[in-house]
């Protein structure tokens, strides 16, 4: 069995890369409205491990792509505004012994792009420039932690003028406070 991985970033224009060599055209499916061509070669540097979201928690992973190919560099420069919040699909495609695609693409996970960073490092072979795309699991809520405590901070978050828990911070273990009107 042979397999390769596809990365689709729904920026404007859409960036499509795959882990193989040369161009790969995949048929239309639930993600691609029409047959689309993915570009291979030196563009996609790694496809990180990710968890399937089954009763799980959202996770954050990073994709690394080349920092020199024109298509990927455009992500970090002219297309950058459309990258934030863009849907990122990671798919897997299988091939037979003659490198012909078997079945349709299996889209394994959906992420949402957050930040892009470009890093440039000196190594023995020369300078390496990569673009790191940080993505989070899509289709999940990213809510604040529940307001769990009767503290002033939590109450003011709920209602900013409510001072009912004003003195909570002053209460330590062993402190007793009198109730009722002041005498």
């Amino acid at each position: 069995m042979r397999e390769s991985f596809l990365l689709r970033i729904n920026s404007s224009p859409v960036a499509r890369v795959w882990s193989g060599v040369g161009n790969l055209t995949i048929p239309a499916d639930s993600v691609e409205a029409s047959p689309a061509t993915y570009h291979g070669g030196g563009a996609m540097l790694n496809a990180p491990d990710f968890q399937q979201l089954i009763n799980g928690v959202a996770e954050r992973i990073e994709f690394q792509v080349s920092g020199v190919t024109a298509e990927m560099l455009a992500l970090a420069i002219e297309d950058a505004p459309s990258v934030k919040g863009a849907t990122v699909n990671l798919g897997r495609v299988e091939f037979d012994d003659n490198w012909q695609q078997v079945g349709s693409v299996e889209w394994e996970a959906v992420f949402r792009a957050d930040t892009l960073s470009v890093s440039s490092q000196e190594s023995e072979e020369g300078r390496t420039r990569t673009i790191t795309l940080s993505v989070g699991t899509d289709d999940t809520d990213r809510s604040h932690a529940p307001l769990a405590f009767f503290t002033d901070a939590d109450q003011r978050k709920r209602s900013s003028t409510d001072a009912i828990f004003d003195h909570v911070a002053a209460i330590n273990a062993g402190t007793s406070r009198r109730f009722g009107p002041k005498e």
Binding site: M1, R2, E3, S4, F5, W18, S19, G20, V21, G22, N23, L24, T25, H39, G40, G41, G42, T69, A70, E71, F95, N98, W99, Q100
Partner: protein
């Protein structure tokens, strides 16, 4: 585009191959390791070694080529000349080969017609000059006669779809490549030698 012609340098050793990458599933309790290829077909690598840099012409031609290659950034048309293992004869007649029918992008089988002086056996290299991707080399895996034509399978997969009648170069296959490591070694002098490794240039054309 500059052309690397190994016959200019009296190359002694050469090796053309399709390279790629695999992912292993790890070594199991039974000691077996299952690899999976993830590169979608691989790319062409050409090693040339033992170039004879004895005369001025060869030296200067080599230096000019290395200057033009810009440390591997500029792509070069590399002639995969290995005439002993191509279906050609020394001082043999000129011949033509062409694609019969069509083949899609990433196909690994097609039908060709050729009147080459020697029989196709498999293992030969051929190249096709694609409209967008330029000259790309492929290695024949299997050959089956089909009437007066030949059904062949080859690696790596086609870089671009081909149409009926497109020329197939079996005489002097050519591939768009770039220097893998720079600078390549060339020792000049009375017993000078040179060596270079090229890898297929897979940057998006244009």
């Amino acid at each position: 585009m500059p052309t690397f012609d190994p016959s200019q340098f009296g190359i002694a050793t050469l090796d053309f191959r399709v390279a790629g990458s695999t992912v292993s599933g790890g070594r199991s309790l039974s000691g077996i390791e299952d690899p999976v290829r993830t590169d979608g077909g691989g790319f062409v690598v050409a090693d040339f070694g033992g170039g004879n840099m004895i005369d001025r012409t060869a030296n200067l031609a080599w230096r000019a080529l290395m200057a033009a290659s810009d440390n591997g950034v500029t792509s070069i048309d590399v002639l995969l000349l290995d005439r002993r293992h191509q279906p050609v004869r020394r001082h043999g007649p000129a011949f033509t080969s062409a694609v019969v029918g069509t083949a899609a992008l990433r196909a690994t089988a097609m039908t060709i017609s050729t009147n080459a002086p020697r029989k196709l056996r498999g293992g030969e290299w051929f190249s096709i000059n694609h409209a967008t991707w330029g000259s790309r080399a492929y290695q024949i895996a299997t050959v089956a006669p089909n009437g007066s034509n030949f059904d062949i399978t080859f690696r790596p997969p086609l870089r671009e779809a081909v149409t009926d009648g497109l020329a197939v170069e079996l005489n002097a296959p050519k591939c768009k490549m770039r220097l893998a490591s720079a600078p390549s070694s060339a020792i000049t002098g009375r017993l000078g030698t040179a060596a270079a490794t090229f890898i297929e240039d897979m940057r998006l054309p244009g």
